[in-house]
C-alpha cells in the first residue's frame, strides 16, 4: 500500500521550501476563451498573487469550447505553468448544480489533491456548480474559502442582473414573491428553496469579496452578514508592453502625412487631450468611446437613441467609436434596426467590432470620454477601471456600481439611467465643456490606485492564510496521512474565527 502513496505525488505544503502559501483560484472561465469581467479579474488576481513573494497561485478555469481536450481526461492546459482547464457543460442556472457529479467528487477532487491549496478563492459558481464549495470543505475542514462576487446571480434568477423580466425595470431587492412575479413557471416556494439552497453552500465561504459597495449592500440585504463581506476593487491585468520604438515614429509620420494632405495646421488626429473640447475653436472632433458587449442591458440601443437626439451641430463635432461584439448574438430584427440606426447617424458613429484587453491602451489613446450607458446596475465594470488607468473621464449611468465608481462632475458626468434625453444632454455637455475636460481627466487618473488595490488583495490573502494556520493548529485531530486535515469542527471554526477585514 505504501506504493500507492508514492504514486503521482504532488508537492506537499511542508515540501514547499519557499514558504509561499498556495492559492487555488477557481474561475468560471479563462480569459483566453471568454473575456468576461469576472474571468479577467480572476486571472489578474492569479497573476498578482504569483508575482508576489508570499503566494503562489494555480488558476483553475472551466470551459465548454471544443478546445484541445485530450482523450480520457476532462483537463487540459493553456501552455502556461499553473493553469488548469476543465471541460464542463452545465445548464442549471436556477440552483447552479453541476450536471455531471463526477466533475465534483472525482475531477475537482483530483485538482485539490494535486494542488493542495492553502487557500481556495472562488470567482464564481456559475457553470462550475455550487457543490465545488462543499467539496473543498469535504477535502479539508481548515482551508479558508474566499469568494469574489461578480454579479447578482445568487440573488436574481434573471441572469443575475436584478432587473425585472417584464418591463426591464430595475429591481432593488429579491423576495420569493417578487421573484415569482418575474418567472411565471415558478412559484414562491421554488424561490424560497433556491435561496436557502444557495445560502447553504455559501455557509462554507469564509469571506466574500465585493468589488463595489453597492454589490456588497445587495448581498447584505439578501442575508449575508455584513461582517462576512469585504469591499475591494478588482485587480486589473497589467498593461501590455507597447512596442514604443516602432509604433511611435510610425504614428508621427502618419500624423504629419494626414495633416499635410488635409492642409490643416497645428492640431492633428493624435494631439494631446487638452483643449480638444473647447467650443467653437477646436478643429479636431471630440472623441467618445464605448467598450463592451453590444446588448440592450449594456445600453447600446439607448446610446444610439441619445445620439439621434443630439442637435446636428453637436453630432458633427464628435466621433463615437463603439467597440465590442454581440451583434451576431442578437435576433435579426434587433440587429438590423441597430445597424440602421448607426448608419443614419452618419460618419460620426462607427461600430468597431471586437477588441482585445491588451489593446485598450492603444484604443484609449486620444479618446476624450468613455461612455458606460448600461441599463442595469453593473458591479465594477472593467472598462471604468481601464478609463481611469488611462486618465479618460467617464459618462455613466447614475446607478449601482457605476455611480459608485464615478464622482459626478469630478471624474465624469452621470446621467439618469435608461433616459436617452438625459444621456444626450450629458454628451452635449461633455463635448462643450471646454478646459474642464483636462481637469476631469486629471481627477480620473488620480482615482486609479493600483498599488492600493494590490496591497489590499495581498492583505486579504495574508489574513486568509493566518486563518488557515490557526484552524490547522486548533484542529484536535492531527493531519491525515494524505494531507487531509482534521475533520471535526469545520463549521464551528468557520464562523468563530473570521478573516480580518483587509480593506
Amino acid at each position: 500500500m505504501a506504493e500507492h502513496a508514492a504514486e503521482v505525488t504532488p508537492l506537499r505544503t511542508d515540501e514547499r521550501t519557499d514558504g509561499r502559501a498556495r492559492v487555488l483560484i477557481v474561475a468560471h472561465g479563462h480569459p483566453d476563451i471568454d473575456r468576461g469581467g469576472g474571468e479577467v479579474a480572476a486571472y489578474a488576481q492569479h497573476r498578482l498573487l504569483n508575482g508576489s513573494d508570499r503566494f503562489t497561485s494555480v488558476f483553475f478555469a472551466r470551459h465548454d469550447e471544443p478546445w484541445p481536450v485530450h482523450p480520457g481526461t476532462v483537463f487540459s492546459g493553456t501552455g502556461r505553468a499553473a493553469e488548469i482547464l476543465m471541460h464542463s457543460r452545465t445548464t442549471d442556472r436556477f440552483l447552479f448544480r453541476q450536471d455531471d457529479e463526477r466533475r465534483v467528487w472525482r475531477e475537482f477532487r483530483e485538482v485539490l489533491d494535486a494542488v493542495r491549496p492553502d487557500i481556495v478563492h472562488f470567482h464564481h459558481y456559475l457553470h462550475l456548480g455550487l457543490e465545488l464549495l462543499a467539496e473543498v470543505r469535504r477535502w479539508s475542514a481548515s482551508v479558508p474559502i474566499l469568494m469574489t462576487l461578480h454579479e447578482y446571480h445568487a440573488i436574481c434568477h434573471n441572469d443575475g442582473l436584478m432587473v425585472r423580466t417584464r418591463d426591464a425595470d430595475l429591481c432593488d431587492r429579491a423576495t420569493p414573491a417578487r421573484c415569482a412575479q418575474c418567472f411565471t413557471g415558478r412559484d414562491e416556494q421554488d424561490f424560497t428553496l433556491r435561496e436557502r439552497y444557495i445560502k447553504a453552500f455559501f455557509e462554507h465561504v469564509d469571506r466574500f469579496v465585493a468589488p463595489s459597495r453597492f454589490l456588497a449592500d445587495r448581498y447584505t440585504d439578501w442575508g449575508i452578514a455584513p461582517g462576512r463581506i469585504t469591499v475591494m476593487e478588482n485587480v486589473l491585468p497589467p498593461e501590455a508592453a507597447r512596442p514604443e520604438a516602432s509604433a511611435a515614429p510610425a504614428a508621427t509620420n502618419e500624423t504629419t502625412w494626414t495633416t499635410g494632405m488635409t492642409g490643416t495646421t497645428g492640431v492633428g488626429e493624435r494631439a494631446g487631450t487638452a483643449g480638444r473640447c473647447e467650443p467653437d475653436v477646436a478643429p479636431g472632433r471630440c472623441r467618445l468611446a464605448v467598450f463592451g458587449r453590444l446588448s440592450d442591458m449594456k445600453g447600446t440601443p439607448l446610446l444610439l437613441e441619445a445620439l439621434a437626439l443630439l442637435p446636428r451641430g453637436t453630432l458633427d463635432r464628435l466621433e463615437m467609436d463603439i467597440h465590442g461584439t454581440g451583434l451576431e448574438r442578437m435576433p435579426r430584427r434587433t440587429r438590423t434596426r441597430l445597424v440602421r440606426a448607426v448608419r443614419r447617424l452618419g460618419p460620426a458613429v462607427r461600430l468597431q467590432g471586437a477588441y482585445r484587453q491588451e489593446e485598450m491602451q492603444r484604443l484609449l489613446d486620444g479618446v476624450d470620454w468613455m461612455v458606460v450607458p448600461s441599463r442595469w446596475w453593473e458591479n465594477s465594470p472593467v472598462v471604468i477601471l481601464e478609463a481611469k488607468r488611462h486618465g479618460v473621464p467617464l459618462i455613466t449611468a447614475d446607478i449601482g456600481g457605476m455611480a459608485e465608481k464615478v464622482v459626478d462632475g469630478l471624474t465624469g458626468w452621470q446621467f439618469r439611467a435608461g433616459d436617452a434625453r438625459s444621456l444626450a444632454r450629458t454628451i452635449e455637455r461633455a463635448v462643450t465643456c471646454g478646459p474642464r475636460h483636462a481637469i476631469m481627466a486629471a481627477h480620473a487618473a488620480r482615482d486609479w490606485r493600483p498599488d492600493e488595490v494590490a496591497a489590499a488583495h495581498l492583505a486579504l490573502h495574508d489574513s486568509a492564510r493566518r486563518l488557515g494556520e490557526r484552524r490547522h493548529a486548533d484542529a484536535v485531530a492531527p493531519p491525515g496521512a494524505n494531507g487531509r486535515d482534521g475533520t471535526d469542527g469545520a463549521h464551528g471554526t468557520t464562523t468563530a474565527t473570521p478573516i480580518d477585514r483587509a480593506a
Binding site: A6, E7, T9, P10, S76, G77, A82, E110, A481
Partner: protein
C-alpha cells in the same frame, strides 16, 4: 391503398435481382425495416411477426459460426406470457442441442437476455433480446460439413419455450467451411450485434460475446504463423556490432512521424549506438514509407532498420515481431508519436534506475503539447460504467506537469504504458512479450505489467525526462467507430476476467487520498 408489406417485399426481391444478394443484404439492414425482419424468418417466423393470435414473437435472429465448434445466436424475443423456460437449437438434420439458461450451471452454453432499444419502445409485453453461445459437438459439425458438401448450405431451427408456449425460428446456417479468413472482420460483425445500452453489457460479454470473440481469436491465432516481413537496414551497420538498446517503434496509419522522430534522434548522443527499428504494421504504408526512409537514410547519419510486416496485426504482434528482429540487450518500446522535448532522455531513463535495469519495467512520464501530463503511470480502478470491471486510470492526466515534481530516481507505479517502456531482453523473453490475445492495441501494456508483477518484477516510472506524446494523433486514426469502442470493452473485459483477483489485491486506497 397500397399494401406496404407486399410492396416492400417486391422491392426487396427486385433489389436482390439487380444488386445481387450480398449487396442487398448490406442494404437491407439500413432501409428495409420490415423486409429485413421477414428475410430472416422462415414462414413460421413471418406469422409470428404479425402476432396474429400469438402471445410471443421471435425476430431478428442471426446465427454465426464462432469457431469450428460453436455458434453465436442473437435475436429478440417478445413474450406476453411469462419468462423463458427452455431453449434448443437444431442444426441441419442433427439432434436438438439443449441450451442452458443463464441461471443454470450448464457448461458451455448460456442464454442471456437483453433488452434492445427497439424493444423498449414496445409497451405491450416483455421484449428481450438474447445472445447465446452454443457448443456444437464434433459429430454435428462433421455431419454439417458432409451435408454442406452435398447441398451448399443447411438450415437451423431455434425453439424457445416461454410460459405461453413455444416459438420457433428457422433460417439458413452459414457453411462452417467458408470461415477462416479475415478474423478481425468477423470480430467486428459480432461486436456490431452487441446491443447499444450499457447496463447488462457485462453479463452479455461474460456469457456470450466475450467467450465468442475469445474463441474466434484463439482459433485464428492458432491457425496463423506469427507475423513477419522483410527487414531492411538503412545506413552504416558494421557486421558484428553489439547494441546496448533496441528501440522498437511500430508504425500504423501514418508514417510521417518517422521523419519527426529522426529530426530529434539524429543528433542525440544517447541514440548514437542504439539499434533503431521501425516496424511498419500497415501494408498500405509500405510504398510511402520506403520512399520516406530512403530519403532519410541519405540525410541522416543515424543507422536504422525498417521491418515491413506483411499484414496489419496490431500493437502487440508488431512489437513482438520487432523484438524478434531486435539485436540489443535491452528493449525500448516506443510509440511513433512520442517525441523527445530535449536530448538526453534515454540516458536519463537509465540513470533513474542507476543503470540496473534487470528486474524492472521502466516507463517514462510523458506530456501533452500544452504542458500537461499525458502519462504518469496507470492505476487500476473498478469502474461503475463498466459494471465493476477494471479500467486503467491515468492519475494526473491533463493537469499541469509543474504540479507534480520530478525526481531523479524512478518511482513505483501499478502499471506503465507501452508507449514508452524499457526493459531487458532477458525479462522480455521470460515474460514472453506482449500478449496477442488483446485485439488491435489496448491493455497489452497493463497486461504485461501485471504479468511482470506476478513474476516479481518492479514497475517503475522515470519522471525526470521530457517526452511529448501526441496521443490524439495516433488514436484518431483508429477511434470513432462504435465497434472500436466495443473492442476496447472486450479488451477491458478480457483483462478484468484474467486478472480480477490480482487486481483486487493490488488496489488499496486511492493514491490521492
Amino acid at each position: 391503398m397500397i399494401n406496404r408489406t407486399a410492396w416492400r417485399r417486391q422491392l426487396y426481391r427486385e433489389g436482390k435481382r439487380l444488386l445481387g444478394p450480398e449487396r442487398m443484404a448490406r442494404l437491407r439492414t439500413r432501409s428495409f425495416g420490415l423486409g429485413r425482419r421477414l428475410a430472416r424468418q422462415g414462414a413460421r417466423g413471418r406469422d409470428a411477426l404479425r402476432g396474429r393470435g400469438r402471445r410471443h414473437w421471435l425476430s431478428g435472429v442471426e446465427i454465426e459460426w464462432v469457431d469450428g465448434s460453436g455458434v453465436l445466436l442473437t435475436g429478440r424475443l417478445m413474450s406476453t406470457g411469462g419468462a423463458l423456460e427452455a431453449a434448443s437449437l437444431t442444426l441441419g438434420g442433427g439432434t436438438p442441442l439443449r441450451i442452458e439458461m443463464a441461471t443454470g450451471t450448464g457448461a458451455g452454453a448460456a442464454l442471456v437476455r437483453f433488452e434492445t432499444r427497439e424493444d423498449r419502445r414496445r409497451r405491450d409485453g416483455i421484449a428481450r433480446g438474447f445472445a447465446v453461445l452454443v457448443d456444437v459437438p464434433a459429430r454435428e459439425v462433421r455431419g454439417l460439413r458432409d451435408a454442406g458438401a452435398a447441398q451448399a448450405e443447411s438450415g437451423y431451427r431455434l425453439r424457445l419455450t416461454t410460459g405461453s408456449g413455444t416459438v420457433t425460428a428457422t433460417g439458413r446456417l452459414p457453411d462452417p467451411a467458408a470461415l477462416g479468413y479475415d478474423a478481425l472482420g468477423r470480430v467486428r460483425a459480432i461486436l456490431e450485434r452487441v446491443p447499444p445500452h450499457r447496463d447488462g453489457r457485462r453479463a452479455l460479454f461474460d456469457r456470450a460475446f466475450g467467450p465468442a470473440i475469445e474463441r474466434l481469436w484463439n482459433e485464428h491465432r492458432a491457425g496463423t504463423a506469427p507475423v513477419d516481413g522483410e527487414c531492411v537496414r538503412y545506413g552504416d551497420h558494421p557486421p558484428g556490432q553489439r547494441h546496448a538498446t533496441s528501440v522498437i517503434v511500430p508504425v500504423y496509419g501514418r508514417c510521417d512521424f518517422i521523419e519527426h522522430q529522426m529530426a530529434h534522434f539524429a543528433f542525440d548522443p544517447d541514440l548514437a549506438g542504439v539499434d533503431l527499428l521501425y516496424v511498419v504494421d500497415d501494408p498500405r504504408l509500405h510504398v510511402r514509407t520506403r520512399a520516406l526512409v530512403e530519403r532519410l537514410s541519405r540525410s541522416v547519419d543515424l543507422p536504422f532498420s525498417v521491418l515491413y510486416l506483411t499484414r496489419n496485426s496490431g500493437f502487440a504482434a508488431a512489437n513482438n515481431a520487432g523484438a524478434r528482429h531486435a539485436r540489443g540487450a535491452d528493449l525500448l518500446l516506443l510509440n511513433s508519436d512520442v517525441l523527445p522535448g530535449e536530448r538526453g532522455w534515454l540516458s536519463a531513463m537509465y540513470a533513474s534506475v542507476d543503470g540496473r535495469l534487470t528486474g524492472t519495467l521502466l516507463g517514462a512520464r510523458m506530456l501533452y503539447e500544452d504542458g500537461t501530463l499525458q502519462h504518469d503511470g496507470m492505476r487500476f480502478e473498478p469502474a461503475d460504467s463498466h459494471e465493476g470491471q477494471w479500467l486503467n486510470r491515468h492519475p494526473g492526466k491533463g493537469l499541469p506537469a509543474d504540479l507534480f515534481p520530478s525526481r531523479r530516481e524512478a518511482q513505483p507505479r501499478q502499471a506503465v504504458t507501452g508507449a514508452c517502456l524499457l526493459l531487458t531482453r532477458r525479462d522480455w523473453d521470460a515474460l514472453g512479450g506482449l500478449d496477442e490475445a488483446y485485439l488491435l492495441g489496448d491493455f497489452e501494456d497493463s497486461d504485461l505489467c501485471l504479468r511482470a508483477r506476478a513474476a516479481g518484477l518492479d514497475i517503475r516510472l522515470c519522471t525526470d525526462v521530457s517526452l511529448f506524446h501526441l496521443e490524439r494523433q495516433s488514436q484518431s486514426l483508429v477511434a470513432g467507430a462504435r465497434w472500436k469502442d466495443l473492442l476496447t470493452y472486450y479488451n477491458c473485459w478480457y483483462q478484468s476476467r484474467r486478472w480480477n483477483e490480482q487486481l483486487a489485491s493490488l488496489t488499496g486506497p486511492p493514491a490521492h487520498g
